[in-house]
């Protein structure tokens, strides 16, 4: 079975002497997958999407959508794809429903079918009340929902979303995320570009991290975070009985299988009478923390410490992203 998207050795230079905006990028997106293209501003994400959506010619390389070459057969590729661009580009001369209907007309969808689909998508996107409104009167979130509804009018097989959450309020964001999951459930392949780590982590089946036009890493969000050195940190806050030696607890914790390093934070305000007796121990591990967690608890109890708080911090996609792309501002 062919992949939904195949990008091989894609290069795009805007000027012959300028550095390449996309520099030998290769990846595939499987059918029905939500694929996140993550990278800082100017990493080449939007350029890649522009080439894949036939809006820009590559300098070299090959891009296929379901086996259709986007450069050789752009019109055929456009039947398969739909785009939600970074900046909404609705037709201001048309109202909301007409935007949907004309899009379907461009794609040769018969009148009855396009009317039915428009009604259905307006309902799905919560836009039925706005159907007759001019698009310049819509809020940012509403306009974006219209753009998505319009994109879905011709039942594309692969939907490209370029920075879809930029400028959205939290409600619109959650709504957008729910719709993206619906699309995946229906078998639509989704390619989204974002620099929002949380969005990439929660939505994507796989994430490709790009910078300077190159692919730095490609895997599931959990595999990417697990591969990060440093691992998970388990922090336990405890109250200790008088006379309990913290260094004994540290030694016991260090001996646990899987524990890499143990640190002790003395209680804030010193150890004298009247001070807050809570103190914390931090255990770092590179292995699966779920096996270590009960062991840490047991050890603390055995040593006469009373756990009052427990937290586990896994590395986030942001840590992966920063470790790969660096901290300097773009």
């Amino acid at each position: 079975m062919t992949d939904a998207v195949t990008v091989s050795e894609l290069v795009k230079r805007y000027h012959p002497h300028a550095p390449a905006a996309v520099d030998g990028l290769s990846f595939t997106v499987e059918r029905g997958e939500v694929f996140g293209l993550l990278g800082p501003n100017g990493a080449g994400k939007s350029t890649t999407v522009s080439v894949l959506t036939t809006r820009m010619l590559p300098t070299s390389g090959r891009c296929l959508l379901f086996g259709t070459d986007v450069v050789a057969q752009p019109a055929r590729a456009r039947r398969l794809l739909a785009v939600v661009p970074q900046r909404q580009n609705l037709d201001r001369s048309l109202d909301v429903r007409q935007n949907l209907l004309f899009h379907a007309r461009y794609h040769g969808i018969a009148r009855d079918e396009r009317t039915a689909r428009a009604a259905e998508l307006l309902d799905l996107m919560g836009l039925t009340d706005q159907a007759g409104r001019r698009v310049e009167r819509l809020s940012g979130g509403q306009a974006q929902r219209v753009v998505i509804a319009r994109a879905l009018m011709h039942a594309p097989q692969v939907l490209f979303l370029d920075e879809p959450s930029t400028g959205l309020d939290p409600q619109s964001r959650l709504f957008l995320h729910a719709r993206i999951r619906d699309l995946r459930d229906r078998g639509v392949t989704v390619v989204l570009t974002t620099h929002d780590m949380e969005e990439a982590a929660t939505l994507s089946d796989r994430v490709g991290i790009v910078d300077h036009g190159r692919l730095l890493a490609l895997d599931t969000p959990s595999a990417l975070t697990e591969a990060l050195p440093g691992g998970t940190t388990i922090t336990a806050q405890v109250r200790c009985a008088e006379g309990t030696a913290a260094d004994k607890i540290v030694t016991a914790l260090t001996e646990l299988p899987g524990a890499c390093a143990v640190e002790h934070d003395p209680a804030p305000g010193g150890t004298g009478p009247g001070a807050d007796p809570a103190q914390s121990f931090r255990v770092r591990t590179d292995t699966d923390p779920s096996a270590l967690l009960p062991e840490v608890l047991r050890t603390l109890l055995d040593q006469g410490a009373e756990p009052v708080g427990l937290s586990m911090v896994r590395p986030s996609l942001q840590d992966v992203f920063i470790s790969l792309t660096g901290r300097e501002l773009r």
Partner: protein
């Protein structure tokens, strides 16, 4: 959430979506033609639903030209005889070329610079140059309308006699070519000009185009001002004005119809080629 129904459940497969004609009124035409007509229809539809602004653009300026040049100057004794009959084809030509040019150029300048509205049409399953051709056809239709509407207006304001039926094939041919050339120039301008340079470009292009286009006088009458006659000969509007005069005023000395047709065909081919090339570089060059 709402349960999606069948139409959205199944994304169209590449086999089913490639070239299967949707049933309906356009069943007999191919998918490319159908998409082309849809893209063209969008411009016709959006213009027709706001007819007032289009009609003002089409009628006000030529009406004033008719009034001042045909009526006021005539009553004041500055023009005489059948000046109205000479002026009418010129204004018709001027209006056709200008309206077609503006209606092609202006929306494109906005589209390519900031609104991006045309992107949905550029993503239609249609070869990109055909989107440009749809723009040309729409501009040509605007120009044809703007030219033709001058005929009754001119007859009314200028009081000239109507044209014989035999003159109309020539009039239609020249108007069609003139409008298409105007649309071609508009397409070129629309893909080259940035919005901050609209006013300076239009001053640099429109005014010279208007005043060297033999609108208010026959080209042959410039014999005593040779350099201006040469300048006028470079302007395609001259051949529209002169072509319409050749078709409607057989006794007037003007550039023969076949020369006008030939020059306009060449101008159209050049403007359309440059315009489509510019259009494609804008359409494929930007994010």
């Amino acid at each position: 959430m709402t349960t999606p129904t069948t139409t959205l459940n199944e994304p169209a497969g590449p086999e089913t979506s490639s070239d299967t004609a949707a049933p309906g009124r356009w069943q007999h035409v191919g998918p490319t033609t159908r998409t082309f007509l849809a893209v063209l229809w969008r411009d016709v539809f959006t213009t027709a639903r706001r007819p007032a602004s289009f009609l003002v653009q089409v009628i006000v300026q030529p009406l004033l030209l008719f009034f001042v040049f045909g009526k006021v100057l005539g009553e004041a004794g500055y023009t005489h005889g059948d000046f109205g009959a000479t002026l009418l084809p010129g204004v018709m030509a001027f209006n056709a070329l200008l309206v077609s040019l503006q209606n092609t150029a202006m929306p494109l300048i906005m589209d390519f610079s900031w609104s991006g509205e045309i992107e949905d049409r550029l993503l239609a399953p249609l070869p990109g140059p055909l989107v440009a051709v749809a723009k040309l056809v729409f501009g040509t239709l605007c120009g044809l309308f703007a030219g033709l509407v001058m005929a009754p207006l001119g007859f009314l304001v200028l009081g000239t006699t109507g044209w014989p039926l035999t003159a109309w094939p020539g009039v239609l041919l020249i108007l069609l070519l003139g409008s298409a050339t105007g649309a071609g120039i508009g397409l070129t301008l629309g893909t080259v000009v940035s919005p901050e340079r609209i006013s300076v470009t239009f001053s640099l292009v429109l005014a010279p185009l208007t005043f060297t286009g033999s609108v208010q006088y026959p080209w042959s009458s410039l014999g005593h001002l040779k350099w201006f006659q040469v300048v006028s000969a470079i302007n395609p509007l001259t051949y529209v004005s002169e072509g319409l005069r050749a078709a409607t005023l057989p006794n007037l000395r003007c550039i023969p119809l076949w020369t006008d047709t030939l020059v306009l065909l060449l101008a159209l081919a050049l403007a359309a080629a440059v315009g489509i090339k510019g259009f494609m570089s804008r359409a494929l060059g930007r994010r």
